[in-house]
């Protein structure tokens, strides 16, 4: 009895599907004049030239991606965010700037980083480059506003700061503030251990 009911239900389902397929197979009647008018109307309303390019940049779009691509993009984003955080946080025993393993003539290579998304230039100044804003410019990463430079710094305690856009002095927010006369522009302190000392 129950099998009979299920058979009837299947037949009814087939009927519905058949009617839907028939509708889809039916030729679409289009009023050619009306269709052309609507197309031309849309063309005229759409922006052209620079407006079109700007509109294509500013108007929201919907993307369809496979779950695998979404997962890969998410992982890439997570890795890049983690990398940025590690970049600005102290990551070595050498205060905030990172000291690479290699050394140049007894001076460890120290990596300095500064985040300034809207800056047009960032320079490193300190007692290792005569406080010369032209001596050690930082290079901007392609994205994220992260500026960095690697230079050899002699072991010892050093004072330094960043100069943004040639005039604005900024201490390193991730490093200890230095004590002492700073002429009204705070410095950061860097301690570089001597690789040869214990």
């Amino acid at each position: 009895m129950r099998q009979h009911d299920e058979f009837d239900a299947m037949e009814q389902g087939d009927d519905v599907l058949e009617r839907a397929a028939g509708e889809l197979r039916r030729p679409l009647r289009v009023n050619a004049a009306l269709f052309d008018a609507r197309v031309m109307d849309e063309v005229l309303r759409s922006p052209s030239g620079l407006r079109a390019r700007m509109a294509s940049l500013t108007q929201p779009r919907t993307f369809r991606v496979s779950p695998l691509v979404a997962l890969a993009a998410g992982l890439l984003f997570a890795v890049s965010v983690a990398g940025s955080v590690l970049y600005v946080l102290p990551a070595s025993p050498e205060s905030a700037p990172r000291t690479a393993a290699r050394a140049a003539a007894g001076s460890p290579i120290v990596q300095f980083g500064f985040v300034a998304p809207h800056a047009s230039s960032v320079a490193l100044v300190g007692d290792f480059n005569n406080w010369d804003p032209k001596a050690t410019p930082l290079r901007a990463a392609s994205t994220g506003g992260v500026w960095s430079v690697e230079i050899p710094v002699r072991p010892g305690r050093h004072l330094y700061a960043f100069v943004v856009d040639g005039t604005i002095w900024r201490p390193d927010p991730a490093a200890p503030k230095a004590t002492g006369e700073d002429f009204g522009e705070p410095n950061s302190a860097l301690t570089v251990a001597d690789p040869g000392m214990r």
Binding site: S95, D127, W131, R157, T179, D182, F183
Partner: protein, 202 residues
């Protein structure tokens, strides 16, 4: 004296004035004549007393880059020369320039000269540069000077290596950044550090 030794001595004698001239050239380019002369006189005087001159040159150049006026630059250089001299006296004549610079920073942070001498005694043969720098930085982070001095002296005396001292400082700074008071952060890190550091004691 061999020919080789004579040659080395000649080269050294030739290089020394060249270095001084280079220092003068840096100051010439960045300071007005009056300030430069006064700074050079201070540097010469400090050099004669065995005080490292490069930090004084750098302080003058820093002031120039920051557009400080001449009297302020002179005051800053004079003050630093005094602190460097005091640090050298406290750390002893055998101390390195790097130790003296770090010692001057610690003095400026409020550490007593006697405390520097005690730290020197606790590490007679190793470098104190990193220990003194860590001390200054901890005080700059708000750790009370006497407490910081006690803890760093104890770690140094127990044979903590420079890398361990820097890790210790980072730990304290991290705890402070996460909301701990500077004193509490130092206390907690010290408690966890002391069981490790004394293993190096002979």
């Amino acid at each position: 004296m061999t020919n080789c030794s004579l040659a080395l001595l000649t080269i050294a004698l030739m290089c020394a004035p060249a270095a001084l001239r280079a220092q003068d050239a840096r100051l010439d380019a960045r300071l007005d004549a009056h300030t430069r002369d006064a700074v050079v006189a201070l540097i010469d005087s400090a050099h004669a007393e065995g005080i490292p001159s490069e930090p004084l040159v750098q302080k003058a150049l820093e002031g120039a880059s920051k557009h400080a006026d001449g009297p302020r630059i002179l005051t800053a250089v004079r003050m630093l020369a005094g602190e460097l001299g005091e640090a050298r006296a406290a750390l002893g004549p055998s101390s390195t320039d790097a130790e003296v610079i770090a010692g001057a920073s610690a003095l400026h942070a409020g550490i007593a000269p006697a405390a520097l001498s005690r730290m020197r005694a606790s590490r007679a043969h190793g470098s104190l540069t990193v220990a003194l720098a860590v001390l200054s930085d901890l005080i700059a982070r708000g750790v009370p000077g006497d407490t910081a001095t006690t803890v760093i002296s104890a770690l140094t005396g127990a044979g903590a290596a420079d890398a361990e001292l820097l890790r210790f400082q980072q730990g304290v700074e991290r705890d402070i950044a996460q909301g701990a008071t500077p004193s509490a952060a130092l206390g907690v890190r010290a408690q966890s550090a002391f069981p490790i550091a004394p293993r190096r004691t002979p």
